[in-house]
Symmetry: C2
Subunit: 328 residues, 2 copies
Amino acid sequence: MVNIHPMWNNFPKIQALLLECLELILEKITIENKEIEKKVTDLIESQGKLLRPAYFLLFSRLGNPSPEAHEKIIATAASTEVLHLATLIHDDIIDESKMRRGIETVQSKYGKDVAVYTGDLLLAVYFDLLVDAKASTEILKLNTLSMKRVLMGEINQMTNAYNTEITYENYLKSIKGKTAQLFEVSCYEGAYFGECEPEILEQSRSIGQNIGIAFQMIDDILDYTQTSEVLSKPVLHDVKQGIYTLPLILGIESDNAFLPLLKKGEDLSDDDLAALVSLLHDNDCIERARDIAKKYIDKALASIEQLPAHPEKEMLYSLTETLLTREF
Amino acid sequence: MVNIHPMWNNFPKIQALLLECLELILEKITIENKEIEKKVTDLIESQGKLLRPAYFLLFSRLGNPSPEAHEKIIATAASTEVLHLATLIHDDIIDESKMRRGIETVQSKYGKDVAVYTGDLLLAVYFDLLVDAKASTEILKLNTLSMKRVLMGEINQMTNAYNTEITYENYLKSIKGKTAQLFEVSCYEGAYFGECEPEILEQSRSIGQNIGIAFQMIDDILDYTQTSEVLSKPVLHDVKQGIYTLPLILGIESDNAFLPLLKKGEDLSDDDLAALVSLLHDNDCIERARDIAKKYIDKALASIEQLPAHPEKEMLYSLTETLLTREF
């Protein structure tokens, strides 16, 4: 029996569907070297929040899909999580991260060589799930373009590493690609495969984008406010890698005291990091970042509220509201 | 005007089609950061041998495709080269290679972070080309499974790094995946999109596999016999990375003198490498490896000979024959 994040205990219908997705993903991952296979399946079973397939499923339930569509829905919802997992594994190579979701990363355990190809393998599984779902040319095209945008977001972030002149606009561009794009596609595909009314289909993309933007902003805030135990991954890792996210960008814009610290680049000591966090609090950067994230959540919530009445709408609304107050 | 490897000067029809493939690939690669885009397009224009699309095109010409199939043929042929390029970029991360095709690698110039995502981006382009070709579910499925096999071959090779008990069978398994699989699919897809007779379609896969196996064996032999200037990439790199290929496997099997050298792992000095090459010659390993490669080429040539008569068959035969004697 696959483990699933406890946040889904309150949403038993979605929980059951997410379990189906996870079981399908596990079935698709067969690596001859069983140690490596176990590493990948451990990551899959390590209780990620599964937000992308969850949003897919929530949107699909706003429609009226035929029972025959069930398999397609599970396969396509699963594909969104697999693309996410592939980018996580490749991210960890770049970050040289040792921990992810409380377990040792593929690259830390087996080296970057195995991690590169394991991530690639998940990209093959991602497309394989879409092919199994007999996705139309339109949906396949959406996915290939979307994958390109995700990667462009990552590349944009990388090419701005250690850039102390990075702007809010540039940050927004990166997160629209690397995170929001996949939320956008997940919501849209859910509405599409769920055969939703045109009004829902039309709104799904911008709702997904706003949720994705807010989700990433909150992730970036938690990196400065939470302990690594709560997040099950190292904190304050981005800044050492030269990835300057929302709270820090607000800080750089408002206080010159950040610059001498950031000029140290990779050599930031623990004391420097503590000084940086302290400066962020002095400048209300955490609060201000939270306010910006809240604007995106509020936009998403307002659009959800305006969707046609449907018994499952409440769940979509309440999950989205919860995201803003999450602590993990 | 795109540059193309001079080997195609003798095959003007194929040369013209390969140029169309390259132009399509270049059109598909758009990266906002123009420096990185240039790095990728330089790799594409760096006169690779383009053997995968070439075999695709040669097989397609053994059929009788309708003029409307032309665009599909170019897009799918191009996809085989793009998958190959993606694996090259990811290989270079693992090898930490500085040079490829005579130019600096993506990872050496921009770091492994950019190289991971640039390779991923080419994987997105690979699928995008297949979607543009409106490939059937059967062909899409073939590609996703094939990509998995390529990666399994790479992972198999990685997990055998520094394994001095590696067998010929294990080596064969790795190269069937990492190299021969893509030759096999290229030949088959060429026959498929070229609407070839069933007999050709049926033979295309095993012809492609035998060519791919021989091609990789010859590549591995050249690594021990050629200079890095001729190959436009570093030589004797594999052995330092613990990748033991055909000549060395034959050596290990026949002479215990290899083991003390190989036990040095990453710390092999230039003198050690020279001693290793000398041991290979003492044991006739290069000649014996060439004989094995020749068997695979001969198998492929015999099958090509038995294909139904066709004016373009000669070109397929002569190109395949040339592969065995290549020096680059």
